[in-house]
Amino acid sequence: MVEFYASAFHPIRDDLSAAHARAWTRIARPGTWWDGNARVAIAAETRRASGCALCRRRKEALSPLAIEGSHDSLGQLPEIVVEVVHRVRTDPGRLGERWYRSVIARDLTEEQYVEIVSVVAHTVAIDTMARGLGLDAPPLPDPEPGLPSHYRPAGAKPGGAWVPWVEPAYAGAAEAGIYPNERPPANIMKAMSLVPEEVRSFFDLVTHQYLPGAVMRDFSREYRAISHAQIELLAARVSALNRCLY
C-alpha cells in the first residue's frame, strides 16, 4: 500500500492509492489557468461547500436562482469562483446553461471555469470514496509555486456542450493522448478538453477508480473485486441520485 492511504483500515489497491497521490500532486502544482495556491483553495472550498447555509437553502428551493445571499466561504477565492465551486459541489443536477452564461459574463473565462470544474471533480472523487470507506478526507497538499501555463488549444471550438471543446480532428500535438485512438471519444472525455491537462489528470483517476477505457466494455472477464454489472449498477444509481442523465 503506498503512502497516500498508509493508515487506511481497508487495504486499498496500490494503483488506486498511487492515482490519488498523483491527483493531489497535480492539484498542488500550477495548472493551466490557476496557480497552485488557487487550485488548493478550490479543493478546500469544495469541502467547505457541504456546510454552506445558502447552498442548503437553494438545494431545498424549487428554483435555486430564486434564493439570494452569500456563500459561507473560506474567503480565499473571488466570489464568482466560490459560486461555481459551491453550485457544482452541492446542486449539480440543476445547473443550467443560463447560469453558466451568467458566471462567464462575470469576469470568469471559460478556460478558468473548466479548470475549476476539474479540481472540484478530483476532490469529490477522492473525498466521496473516503466517506464510503469511513476514512477522513485526506489532507490537502501544500501548494507549489509557479505560474499557470495559459495554454489554450487552437482547435477548441463551440460544439455540443456549453463549453467549447476539441474535436479529435482538431487536436494538435499538445493534445496528444487525451483521446483514445481506437474509437471516437465519449462526450465526457471532450467535456474538459478546453484544458487538456485536466482531461489527462481526471482520466487517470477514471482509469484506476473505475476502469481503463479499453476494458469498460470487455464483459468477457472481470478486472475488479466487483463485476461489470455491479460496477454499472452503482454508477447508474449514483447518477440517478445526482439527477444526471449522462
Binding site: 446553461e97 469529490v124 466521496t128 464510503g132 469511513g134 462526450n187 483517476l205 477508480q209 466494455r217
Partner: protein, 116 residues
C-alpha cells in the same frame, strides 16, 4: 446502458428499474440491493445508515469489493458533476440505445437541454 450490455453478454436480464432505487431485491445483480443501499448512504447524510450499509456490504462481499464499490461511487459522483457543469449532451448512439429505458424510468427529465 453498460449494465444492460453486460447482462446481454452473459445472457442475464437485469431489472434496470433498480437504478431508481425502486426495487426491494437485487434486481438480478448479485448483491445488488446491498450495493444500491451503499451508494445511497454514501451520497446521503446519515452516518449511521452509512456505517450499516458499509458493514453489510463488507460482510457480504469482503474488503476489496468494498474498496472498489466506494471508488466507483466516488468516481461517478465526480463524473456527474463534470457532465452537468459542462452541459454535454448524450451521444446520439447512446441516446438511441437507451431511449426505451430512459422513457420507462422517466430519466429524460434530467436532460441538460431542459434546464434554463
Amino acid at each position: 446502458m453498460l449494465l444492460r450490455a453486460s447482462g446481454q453478454t452473459h445472457n442475464r436480464t437485469y431489472q434496470l428499474v433498480a437504478v431508481t432505487g425502486a426495487v426491494e431485491g437485487d434486481g438480478g445483480v448479485p448483491y445488488g440491493r446491498r450495493l444500491v443501499m451503499f451508494a445511497e448512504a454514501v451520497l446521503g447524510e446519515d452516518d449511521v445508515a452509512l456505517a450499516r450499509a458499509r458493514d453489510a456490504l463488507m460482510a457480504a462481499m469482503g474488503p476489496p469489493a468494498l474498496v472498489d464499490a466506494a471508488g466507483v461511487v466516488g468516481l461517478f459522483n465526480a463524473i456527474d458533476r463534470v457532465a452537468d457543469a459542462t452541459g454535454i449532451p448524450l451521444e446520439p448512439e447512446k441516446a438511441a440505445a437507451s431511449a426505451d429505458f430512459r422513457a420507462a424510468l422517466d430519466l429524460d427529465r434530467f436532460a441538460v437541454v431542459d434546464r434554463s
